[in-house]
């Protein structure tokens, strides 16, 4: 981004005669734009990302994301460790939705292995993944409030997330990097009383959700800060390959869980257990920041009812399929895209029949969702820029992998 430096002030000494005898003196005040590094250590970038913005006063005229500050060579590591050993690394790219990452990777390898997963493991997977989706949406909602200056909703959201993390801690022993879903099933069965606690959580969470809605989502300042801001049209969203809430916020009714079904989502959908929330432009235009964040907030409730459906339908049984201790994956290539809280999380695994992958590609949804900032940030104010970055809900661990 090269900045044009114009002379700052030009005088036109000859006055212009206006009708009525008035004289107008002209003076062109032209200023040069200010280039600011927003990040890598800026509170609004949710981690270590840099956005180089050019501003004309408060107006952002150009924006360019710079990534790579958190690049940890996940794909290269995948080519160097065994299939099962890569599992803990999947936790670490989208660290807010580790269960989903585990699931995506496991499913890609299972597709190559062609192994059947026991029903109980499927249900446990679904419960964990959906609870994780709620936890992730809570962070998205909370930090979005924080971006816009509302600190309290963030702490309310984290209060519920804390409970969720404790629930995860009980089933797998970790609070953030779960490594719980494994190739072929899950690692542990639910401990006694765990399913009841999840069901109790569902009941309590429903009340709290209403609180979030009243406190932040319909707040007039919040609505004015987000409605009509950062509008992504449907065409733009598709062109940029946006997925997940970003796509649905733009009014596209598409959810991988329903439309390219996996696990038992289709069955639950047909049973009416959940819906796909789509942005409708309730407070402004379709595809604005409010729509995107509201899709996430609604998804919490949908995930909740999915969890309830799973709790009703879970049955006793084994939790792991027929999996050898040292995995040797038959040769082949498989791409599996699953619905991560941020969009389509794709895992593309190539095996040559050995213990180690030939290629372990991760298609991070945040990576693709972030690209649209270049397009929608120019023309907004500095405060809007923060709102837009927040509404993309990027996890830098995943954009950089």
């Amino acid at each position: 981004m090269a900045t044009e430096h114009k002379p700052s002030i030009t005088f036109h000494p000859e006055p212009r005669n206006l009708p009525g005898g008035e004289r107008e003196y002209m003076m062109d005040v032209s200023t040069s734009d200010l280039e600011v590094n927003m990040g890598p250590q800026h509170p609004a970038t949710h981690g270590v990302m840099k956005i180089l913005i050019r501003t004309d006063g408060e107006l952002v005229t150009a924006a360019q994301p710079h990534l790579g500050f958190l690049h940890r060579c996940a794909e290269k590591i995948g080519e160097n460790v065994e299939w099962l050993q890569y599992l803990p690394y999947t936790d670490r790219y989208d660290y807010l939705a580790s269960m989903n990452n585990n699931l995506g990777y496991s499913m890609a390898v299972e597709k190559l292995l062609d192994v059947e997963i026991p029903q109980r493991a499927v249900m446990l997977r679904m419960i964990c993944v959906e609870l994780n989706r709620i936890a992730s949406a809570l962070v998205a909602f909370g930090t979005y409030g924080l971006d816009l200056g509302a600190i309290t909703p963030f702490l309310y959201a984290f209060r519920e997330r804390e409970w969720l993390l404790m629930i995860f801690e009980k089933i797998c022993g970790a609070r953030l990097t779960y490594s719980y879903l494994r190739i072929g099933g899950v690692f542990n069965d639910a401990p006694p009383g765990w399913l009841e606690e999840v069901s109790h959580f569902c009941d309590v969470f429903e009340e709290k959700w209403q609180e979030y809605y009243d406190l932040l989502m319909v707040n007039h300042i919040f609505v004015k800060r987000t409605a009509d801001i950062g509008v992504i049209t449907k065409e733009q969203a598709l062109d940029f390959g946006l997925t997940g809430p970003m796509l649905r916020g733009s009014g596209v009714d598409f959810d991988l869980r329903r439309d390219v079904p996996y696990l038992r989502y289709k069955e639950a959908y047909d049973a009416g257990a959940w819906k796909v929330p789509v942005g409708s432009g309730e407070k402004g235009t379709v595809g604005d920041c409010w729509d995107r964040i509201f899709v996430r907030v609604q998804e919490m409730m949908e995930s909740l009812s999915l969890v309830r459906w799973c709790l009703e339908n879970i049955e006793e049984g084994p939790i792991i399929g027929d999996i050898a201790k040292t995995l040797k994956v038959p040769p082949g290539e498989a791409y599996v895209g699953i619905e991560n809280p941020r969009g389509e999380l794709g895992h593309y695994a190539v095996s040559d029949g050995g213990k180690v992958a030939v290629r372990c590609r991760v298609r991070g949804p945040s990576f693709c969702n972030l690209a649209i900032l270049e397009d929608i940030m120019p023309g907004t104010l500095l405060g809007d820029a923060v709102a837009i970055i927040g509404s993309t809900d990027v996890v830098i661990g995943e954009t950089d992998r």
Partner: protein
């Protein structure tokens, strides 16, 4: 539409650059070295025609692949002469997927950029370019995206050697 249907339709409309279908197959019991191939089915496409092939896939009404979900490359081995260029397409309205493979010779490692067809390809191509050293001709913004601008080598190639030092920082 399933893979077969998509393949047939593309044949029917004479899609540019379409070579063949690469489907998973069982192991050949007579040849002990051949273990078969599992996983997805691919359409193999001529590398130079990839962009126009994608355009066909996007614009054809019966396919309408609106989203380019993923674009990546694979280095199958040190001795292999080609990179595989893997493109995953996704249709939102018709709800089907398609995996496309194009073979890009390692020497010279050039392929026309698809970012004019799908804007989503732009960042994926930047990543591919720095990780594999593939040059995307006609790319509007060919900078590194994840690696520093002066990072030596292309890390995801199989013949990549880890640098021992980067700007005076030991990488051992």
């Amino acid at each position: 539409m399933d893979f077969q249907g998509i393949h047939d339709h593309l044949r029917l409309i004479n899609a540019p650059g379409l070579l063949r279908a690469d489907e998973p197959r069982a192991a050949n019991p007579e040849d002990k070295k051949d273990k078969g191939r599992g996983g997805d089915a691919y359409l193999v496409v001529e590398a130079d025609a990839l962009a126009s092939f994608l355009e066909t896939c996007r614009d054809d009404e019966r396919l309408s692949f609106e989203i380019l979900a993923d674009l990546t490359a694979v280095d199958p081995g040190k001795d292999d002469e080609d990179f595989w260029m893997i493109v995953q397409l996704l249709s939102v309205t018709l709800r089907h997927r398609l995996a496309i493979k194009a073979l890009v010779p390692k020497d010279p490692g050039q392929i026309p950029s698809s970012s004019a067809v799908y804007r989503a390809a732009q960042w994926h191509e930047r990543e591919c370019a720095e990780m594999f050293g593939i040059e995307f001709t006609g790319h509007p913004d060919p900078r590194n995206i994840l690696l520093p601008d002066d990072w030596p080598g292309s890390p995801l190639r199989k013949d990549y050697e880890f640098p021992t030092e980067y700007r005076g920082i030991s990488c051992e």
